[in-house]
């Protein structure tokens, strides 16, 4: 074992040591459990932990299969019927933006006891992150190949199966890798709301009892499982694929259309979503006591005697949420981008931090929410930090990828003029990074909204997350559904706005992506 072989382990080992000593230093503060204490707890409670882990894993796996199957079907449909793609994307985005905090309780009512909500939430957590890369991958086919298929007189289906599906495989793998921890997260959030067993149930219990070791043990276990799932899919992929799975940075969906056509698209999508919402509830014949239709919400928000109060409650919750959301989101983006730049400037630093960062990318961040609350308290710092962490890792990975996307041999041309690393960073790498940065910024809008609502629900007790949890427990379904619509709109509009900025950036910095 030489020093170089040890090097990748140096960072993690140092962190573990620091963690252990900090835990002993602040033992009286009851926030930090030492790694040794966590391992002890896991050994003492092996039976409890394995049972819970088994339940959650089963639910997550079921959701993973269902969600990804749905994504693959939708992607295939979008490619064979190109006209349907915009509609599929819009619906998929809106469903992805539904706040888990509220869909949990609503699904619980729909399914009753059992594992339905957990599996559904796990499926909802994964389908979008698979669908989007898959759509990119199915298109990442040189048009010559498609012409070749056509020149033999074969049609779209043949092209899809023989050419596109194969070309999309690496993209599918990239999506599945991200999906694995997400499915685990979805299943756990599903268990937060009234399940009988599972890691989520234990997490809630540990938090309520202020059981520090248990909270940390659960978060550690969730992390280890998520990292292992991520690595396992990566390994399986390497056996099948000849190249590394790509980092996916799909350009925003809207094509080059006139503004009025985009507006028409938005209107059409909105109509479709409203129809699906109303039609779905009617088809399932659900009681309008808890299954609110669009009409019920218009009634509650504008016509009912207490409509003004409802609106006031919603807008004050929205304000409370935004106060945390903005700083956390921006902090996450900026730290992610800055660290990416630092790593590129100091490659030796990257050797020790990258394995850690890649491992942490697959952590179901929300399951660590209780820890962040323990560490940083229930105030602004904890909430903002959690949102920032949620946004930070995907941004870091995307930016690192972007920083390496310098066009052709541009960095060598710079070097041939003896440009300093700082000049290369400024003139080549940072501009080349911008498309990746904005893609990450866009994708992270729903993630940061998810983070803020979960923390509000579990910890701070204000904002939209808390409002949704509260109205679910008070059976105030008008308020619950209104809050769901508002939160979803917040995500979708944020996503759209960042997408607009992104398109402007891309038109200068990566025009080929908009083609």
């Amino acid at each position: 074992m030489t020093a170089t072989a040890l090097r990748p382990w140096l960072g993690p080992i140092l962190i573990l040591l620091a963690w252990e000593s900090l835990a002993h230093l602040f033992a009286s503060a009851f926030v930090l459990a030492a790694p040794s204490a966590i391992i002890n707890y896991l050994f003492d409670n092996t039976a409890l932990m394995t049972r819970a882990l088994g339940v959650t894993l089963t639910n997550a796996a079921a959701g993973f299969v269902i969600g990804n199957a749905a994504a693959i079907l939708l992607a295939g449909l979008a490619i064979t019927l190109p006209r349907s793609e915009n509609m599929i994307r819009a619906l998929a985005l809106v469903i992805f933006c539904l706040p888990l905090v509220a869909t949990g309780p609503i699904l619980r009512i729909l399914f009753g006891p059992g594992t339905g909500p957990q599996i559904t939430l796990a499926a909802l957590a994964v389908y979008y992150t698979t669908l989007i890369p898959l759509l990119v991958g199915l298109r990442a086919v040189p048009s010559d190949w498609l012409d070749l298929v056509r020149s033999y007189g074969r049609g779209r289906m043949t092209a899809l199966i023989r050419v596109r599906a194969m070309a999309a495989l690496p993209y599918l793998v990239a999506g599945l890798q991200i999906a694995a921890p997400a499915a685990f997260l979805g299943a756990m959030v599903g268990e937060f709301t009234g399940a009988e067993r599972g890691m989520g149930v234990l997490t809630i219990r540990a938090m309520r009892d202020m059981n520090i070791e248990m909270t940390w043990a659960l978060a550690t276990l969730a992390t280890v499982v998520a990292v292992l799932a991520y690595l396992a899919i990566g390994l399986a992929a390497r056996a099948v694929l000849t190249e590394e799975p790509p980092v996916i940075l799909a350009a925003p969906a809207t094509g080059k259309r006139a503004p009025h056509k985009n507006l028409a698209m938005v209107a059409l999508s909105t109509a479709a979503i409203l129809a699906l919402w109303w039609g779905g509830l009617e088809a399932l014949n659900l009681s309008s006591f808890f299954a609110k239709r669009p009409g019920d919400l218009i009634d509650a928000l504008f016509l009912a005697p207490d409509a003004a109060d409802t609106r006031a409650a919603l807008s004050s919750a929205l304000r409370e949420t935004l106060v945390f959301l903005f700083p956390g989101y921006l902090a996450g983006l900026l730290t992610g981008a800055s660290l990416a730049m630092a790593l590129v400037m100091a490659p030796s630093l990257a050797n020790t931090t990258m394995p850690l960062a890649i491992a942490l990318r697959s952590v179901p961040i929300i399951t660590t929410a209780p820890l962040v609350v323990l560490l940083l308290g229930r105030g602004a710092t904890g909430t903002i930090a959690l949102i920032a962490i949620m946004v930070f890792f995907p941004t870091l990975i995307a930016c690192l990828h972007g920083l390496r996307q310098a066009p052709g041999r541009a960095t060598e041309v710079m070097r041939s003029y003896a440009a300093s690393p700082a000049a290369v960073l400024r003139y080549v790498r940072i501009p080349a990074m911008l498309p990746a940065f904005f893609a990450a910024a866009r994708i992270n809008v729903p993630a940061s909204v998810l983070a803020v609502t979960v923390v509000e629900w579990l910890a701070t007790g204000n904002g939209l997350g808390s409002l949704m949890a509260l109205s679910a427990s008070l059976s105030d379904y008008d308020m619950l559904w209104s809050a769901v619509v508002l939160t979803t709109l917040l995500s979708v509009i944020g996503y759209g706005l960042v997408g607009l900025i992104e398109r402007r950036v891309l038109s200068t910095y990566a025009p080929e992506q908009l083609a």
């Binding site: 066009p407 052709g408 041999r409 541009a410 060598e412 041309v413 710079m414 070097r415 041939s416 003029y417 003896a418 440009a419 000049a423 003139y427 080549v428 501009p431 200068t508 910095y509 990566a510 025009p511 080929e512």
Partner: protein, 259 residues
């Protein structure tokens, strides 16, 4: 200023054991244009990159006008144009040239930039971004950028790869005038034999990998070269000689030549 380039015992073996360049001695005469010709993948680009200071040599030394490549880099004494134009897509043609001047710490003189853009036939495209240019136009922009800093040593790595036949002939007629007038020492990597004869004073023919010099041909056609160059008997003689040396180099290493 004309600089002489002296390589002695220069070799390159990549990590993993691939030997790209066998130890070789090479002197590029100041103010001359030398062409490196060889089969694909023979290591000629590696040789150019070592001289450009972009690749460390495994052994041997390089001096450019008596100085190490890193010193030449530091005083912006050389410029490279690659087969991939490597323009920054978010900067216009003019801005790409201006960036090179800034990095080389040389003044931006708008009239000179316009002159260069005219010379490479990009009139009217100075303020266009590379994305809107054809492949050949991008390459011409990259050549204009390389010339803009008035380097002592110009390194051209297949810069006419994507340029159409007509433009290629035009550039071949116009460009040598620029670097000759300034006494620029030029090294051209190409696998086009006719291009090598047209542009250079001397042709070094390389063997398949690992690169070794198998022929050193002096192209003694006086400059400026006539427009009917290709019709001259001596042009054909040089082309034939180069081809013969290339074929011989490949034949001598036949087991390796399959790649």
């Amino acid at each position: 200023m004309s600089v002489e380039i002296i390589c002695s015992g220069l070799s390159k073996t990549f990590p993993g054991g691939v030997e790209a360049v066998r130890p070789l001695d090479l002197t590029l005469t100041a103010g001359q244009t030398t062409a490196l010709v060889g089969p694909s993948g023979c290591g000629k680009s590696t040789l150019l990159r070592m001289i450009a200071g972009l690749e460390d040599a495994s052994s041997g030394t390089i001096t450019i006008g008596g100085a190490a490549p890193s010193e030449t880099l530091a005083r912006a004494g050389l410029a490279v144009a690659f087969q991939d134009p490597s323009l920054l897509p978010w900067r216009t043609v003019r801005q790409n040239i201006e960036l090179a001047l800034d990095l080389a710490r040389k003044p931006r003189k708008p009239a000179e930039i316009d002159q260069l853009i005219h010379l490479v036939g990009l009139d009217g495209f100075a303020d266009t971004r590379p994305g809107a240019l054809s492949g050949g136009m991008r390459q011409r922009a990259a050549i204009a950028r390389a010339l803009s800093t008035q380097p002592d040593l110009l390194l051209l790595d297949e810069p006419f790869g994507a340029v159409d036949e007509l433009t290629r002939a035009q550039l071949a007629a116009d460009l040598p005038g620029i670097w000759e007038a300034r006494g620029t020492t030029t090294l051209l990597v190409t696998h086009s034999v006719t291009e090598a004869v047209t542009l250079s004073d001397r042709i070094l023919v390389l063997s398949p990998r690992p690169a070794a010099i198998v022929a050193d041909i002096t192209v003694d056609i006086p400059r400026p070269r006539p427009s009917n160059l290709k019709a001259l008997p001596e042009f054909q003689t040089h082309v034939d000689a180069t081809f013969a040396a290339l074929s011989q180099g490949v034949a001598d290493t036949l087991p390796n030549a399959a790649q």
